[in-house]
């Protein structure tokens, strides 16, 4: 998988694309938390990995000393000239520009707007489980990631943005390139990025010529500080929504189904007590939080005894924060009726995931529909499960046997 040398010393030479980290980051975080809570590496031209809740939170809140100009760790760093917008505003923007760019988006992702998408999401999930039921027959095996989880956010975000549903495969290609190809050479990454923006340019031109009731047309008409957003800025925000909205949610749905496939008592309880799902869902989000963000160090400084250099990356593994025993009782156990659960799956501070309400709706509906159709299922071959590499973690192959 990884194109880098295997990691031997996690405290001084970590690599989040290493096979061991992809397979089980939890053990690595737990060991680091007890021995060297902020790990470092010279890979990626210098980076740091905090593992305690308190450090991850403090860095997320510290937008002065840590910039969001690059939020995906690779060999590439967005140049300073791209500030204040960054590559994909508002996730790549810092204050004060960030607030307005985010404010434009938030109404489209508020709970009231998300509620209107629930019926179509549910209908689509029904369509998917119907097809899987036919594919599986009686006691057959289907892939819950490939045949179910990955399709749901693609369809939802395509409809929301106003992109052709039939382009789903292309979107997954873009996502895979941006988020999983982080250890590829820079030239190859740049070409993939150009493909994405060429695609979006065509779609945006079409929306300029034929405005309609969707998010792209809304953004093209939106104003920020008294002037309209320019089409290139809209393209960059749409790129963000497309990339950030897909494999994150797909991962959350997949990881929840993976847990339920391997823990029959939890599955049976949720089937018997569907009202518990919202609480259980928060626990799945805590325990299997898919997203790790990144920041760049703004200037050379000492942070908690770490000699950080300007432009070093800092990963913010929110799933590690969620497993810190200082922040959560029985942090390593999945307790589906955990009532007090102040998890950080959607980040902390000003960059709280703008799509969190949409993601929660998709996750809840996806699990409700799946459990109603397939109350009995189990891992068909635990060794065949494959997890994604990079900053978004979820199962990409998840064969399950339907009972």
């Amino acid at each position: 998988m990884g194109r880098h040398e295997p990691v031997v010393d996690w405290a001084t030479d970590f690599d989040h694309t290493d096979d061991a980290y992809v397979a089980d980051p939890f053990t690595i975080w737990n060991e680091l938390r007890n021995s060297c809570p902020i790990a470092r590496t010279d890979r990626y031209q210098g980076a740091w990995l905090p593992t305690r809740h308190e450090d991850i939170a403090a860095i997320a809140y510290d937008t002065d000393r840590f910039t969001s100009r690059s939020v995906v760790m690779s060999e590439f760093r967005a140049p300073v000239e791209m500030a204040p917008q960054g590559i994909a505003p508002p996730i790549s923007s810092d204050p004060p520009y960030h607030k307005g760019a985010r404010r434009v988006l938030l109404p489209a992702f508020a709970p009231q707007a998300v509620d209107k998408l629930e019926a179509s999401t549910r209908a689509y999930c029904h369509q998917l489980v119907g097809a899987l039921r036919v594919e599986a027959g009686d006691g057959g095996v289907v892939d819950a990631a490939v045949g179910y989880a990955q399709h749901i956010p693609v369809r939802v975000i395509a409809n929301m943005l106003g992109l052709p549903e039939t382009d789903g495969e292309r979107f997954r290609g873009f996502v895979n390139h941006v988020l999983e190809g982080v250890d590829k050479p820079m030239e190859e990454r740049a070409l993939g990025m150009m493909d994405l923006f060429e695609y979006l340019q065509v779609q945006i031109d079409d929306h300029l010529a034929n405005p309609r009731d969707d998010l792209i047309s809304y953004l093209l008409a939106a104003e920020l500080d008294g002037s309209q957003l320019d089409p290139f800025q809209v393209a960059r925000t749409v790129a963000l929504l497309l990339i950030a909205g897909i494999d994150t949610t797909w991962s959350a749905i997949g990881a929840s189904l993976w847990h339920l496939a391997g823990n029959p008592a939890d599955r049976q309880r949720l089937v018997a007590e569907p009202d518990l799902l919202p609480t259980a869902m928060e626990e799945f989000l805590r325990a299997y939080a898919p997203v790790t963000m990144a920041r760049l160090v703004r200037e050379d400084m000492d942070y908690s005894g770490c000699p950080m250099k300007a432009n070093d990356f800092v990963l913010l593994p929110f799933p590690a924060a969620n497993r810190d025993p200082k922040a959560f009782d029985r942090a390593d156990e999945v307790i589906i009726d955990r009532e007090v659960n102040r998890h950080a799956a959607f980040g902390l501070g000003i960059h709280r995931c703008a799509g969190s309400h949409l993601a929660r709706m998709e996750l809840r509906v996806a699990l409700e529909v799946w459990l109603a159709e397939f109350p009995e299922f189990e891992l068909a071959d635990p060794a065949a499960v494959r997890w994604s590499a990079g900053q978004v973690r979820g199962p990409r192959l998840l064969p399950v046997r339907i009972g």
Partner: protein
């Protein structure tokens, strides 16, 4: 009460205690009515406080 400076719109409060909180147009939490917790709703209010990722909610004794 909700500290508007800290609230980032996670929405845990109005999901857990929809009778006590509601979303505004950008998804930030707003206290319903005058913010008085009705008798019997104390546990919901406490859970909203304890689940807010930004620790933006506080309960005030009259």
């Amino acid at each position: 009460m909700i500290d508007d400076e800290r609230c980032e719109g996670h929405g845990r409060c109005y999901s857990i205690a929809g009778d006590l909180f509601e979303p505004d147009e950008i998804g930030n939490g707003v206290v319903r009515r005058d913010g008085t917790v009705p008798a019997g709703r104390e546990r919901e209010a406490e859970l909203a406080v304890e689940n807010c990722p930004e620790q933006a909610i506080s309960l005030v004794e009259d």
